[in-house]
C-alpha cells in the first residue's frame, strides 16, 4: 500500500525566514512525486513533478528535491502570499490508472 507522510502538519514563519517541508513516501516503483499548493476554499494547484532521486525543480521562492525515500520543498525568503497548504502526492509505476496518493499536507503561514 502506498503511503505518504508530510511534516510538519503546520508551520509558522516570519517573512524572509527560510525553511523546508518534508514528504516521506513508500510506493512500489515511483512513477512521479507531485507537489501542489492549496489555498482556502480552492482546489489544489500543481507546482512540481519529480521523477528520480537527485532531481530538483525551482519556481520563484520554491525548490523541490527528491531522494529515494523523501522529498523536500524548500521555501527561501517566504512572503505572506506563500501562505497556503502544501500537498505532496505519489504515483506508482504500474496498475494504478495514473491515480495519485496524497499526504495530509503542511499548512504554512508566513507572517509579515
Amino acid at each position: 500500500e502506498d503511503q505518504v507522510t508530510q511534516s510538519p502538519e503546520a508551520l509558522r514563519l516570519q517573512e524572509g525566514e527560510s525553511s523546508s517541508l518534508n514528504c516521506s513516501y513508500t510506493v512500489s516503483g515511483l512513477r512521479g512525486l507531485f507537489w501542489y499548493r492549496q489555498d482556502p476554499g480552492k482546489g489544489p494547484e500543481f507546482l512540481f513533478t519529480l521523477y528520480s532521486a537527485g532531481e530538483e525543480k525551482e519556481k520563484e521562492r520554491l525548490k523541490a528535491t527528491l531522494t529515494k525515500k523523501e522529498s523536500f520543498l524548500h521555501i527561501t525568503a517566504p512572503k505572506p502570499e506563500d501562505s497556503a497548504t502544501y500537498l505532496c502526492a505519489v504515483r506508482r509505476g504500474s496498475g494504478s490508472a495514473r491515480q495519485l496518493t496524497f499526504g495530509s499536507g503542511t499548512q504554512l503561514t508566513v507572517l509579515p
Binding site: V4, G32, F34, Y36, G41, K42, G43, P44, E45, F46, T49, L87, A89, R91, A97, R98, Q99, L100, T101, F102, G103, S104, G105
Partner: protein, 111 residues
C-alpha cells in the same frame, strides 16, 4: 489549462437522500477522478474513470457510485447520504505528465 467545472459548489442535504455531484471538462481527457478531502486525512480517492463507461473503485468507495456516459462528464452519486459523507469533494483530470488539474470543489453537508 483544461476547463474543469464542478457543480454544485455548495449543497446541504438530509440524511438518507440521494445526491449527485457533477464534474464537467471541456477537453477530451481520458482519466477523471473523484476525491474527498477531510481534515487529517488529506485527499482520498473515491472512484476514477479511464474512459466512457470505464470506471473503478478507489480507497473510499463504499456508499458512492459513479457514471461516465460522455467523455466530458463524470458524475458522483451518494445513493443515501450519511453524515460521514459530509466533506469537500474534488474532481480532477490527468493532464499528461503534470499530475492533476483539480476543480474548485463541492462542499457537501449532510444533516
Amino acid at each position: 489549462d483544461a476547463g474543469i467545472t464542478q457543480s454544485p459548489r455548495h449543497k446541504v442535504t438530509e440524511t438518507g437522500t440521494p445526491v449527485t455531484l457533477r464534474c464537467h471538462q471541456t477537453e477530451n481527457h481520458r482519466y477523471m477522478y473523484w476525491y474527498r478531502q477531510d481534515p487529517g486525512h488529506g485527499l482520498r480517492l473515491i472512484h476514477y474513470s479511464y474512459g466512457v463507461k470505464d470506471t473503478d473503485k478507489g480507497e473510499v468507495s463504499d456508499g458512492y457510485s459513479v457514471s461516465r456516459s460522455k467523455t466530458e462528464d463524470f458524475l458522483l452519486t451518494l445513493e443515501s447520504a450519511t453524515s460521514s459523507q459530509t466533506s469537500v469533494y474534488f474532481c480532477a483530470i490527468m493532464e499528461g505528465s503534470d499530475g492533476y488539474t483539480f476543480g474548485s470543489g463541492t462542499r457537501l453537508t449532510v444533516v
